[in-house]
Symmetry: C2
Subunit: 111 residues, 2 copies
């Protein structure tokens, strides 16, 4: 048995704006220095990955990913400071939530 947790942000229509999927894109951009490579690694088209980030940026009102050279992503992409903060916070939040769940779970079952 294992306790699982999930956290995400929804818009007013119940559509996910930011969650595990977009987190993985940001993490891959940060690691690979390229939205194109991030999309490839995730078996997504560049267009689809870009669309997901764009939607999140518009809905959240945050700039998350920028081109390193300013032109079309040819020179690679990187997280903006806001993108990095969102990534770090979401990682921290996911981890804290999981630890909270684990401690309740252990108290209930392993005694």
């Amino acid at each position: 048995m294992e306790v699982r947790t999930k956290v995400w942000i929804e818009d007013e229509n119940g559509n996910s704006i930011f969650g595990d999927g977009r987190m993985q894109i940001l993490e891959a951009v940060d690691r690979l220095g390229s939205l194109n490579k991030a999309a490839q690694e995730m078996n997504m088209s560049y267009r689809s990955a870009w669309g997901k980030i764009k939607t999140a940026e518009e809905r959240l009102g945050l700039h998350l990913v920028e081109s390193k050279l300013g032109g079309g992503g040819v020179g690679g992409s990187r997280l903006t400071p806001q993108g990095r903060e969102l990534l770090d916070r979401f990682n921290k939040l996911s981890q804290e939530i999981h630890e909270l769940a684990l401690s309740h779970f252990n108290e209930l079952f392993n005694r």
Copy 2:
């Protein structure tokens, strides 16, 4: 925008053993004093609701719901002490996780 959280327990094959659905059944049993009425309220068959509780009991190793009169649920059903503890803990855990997410979310967006 709204932050959403979810917590559930999975078995080793990734199947959910306990989460929101079974929580709602336990809450309804507690409120209505009957698994049959609980199933009706949730638009489930008695058989299906009973099956979900039975599976959870077997996998968790806890006795969750008992018959008031000892015979087939005719006299109504109630939570066992273990069922009540699981219900209370899951409610508490869900609430704490949501509050944690809200506080991170507010720090990130509402400043």
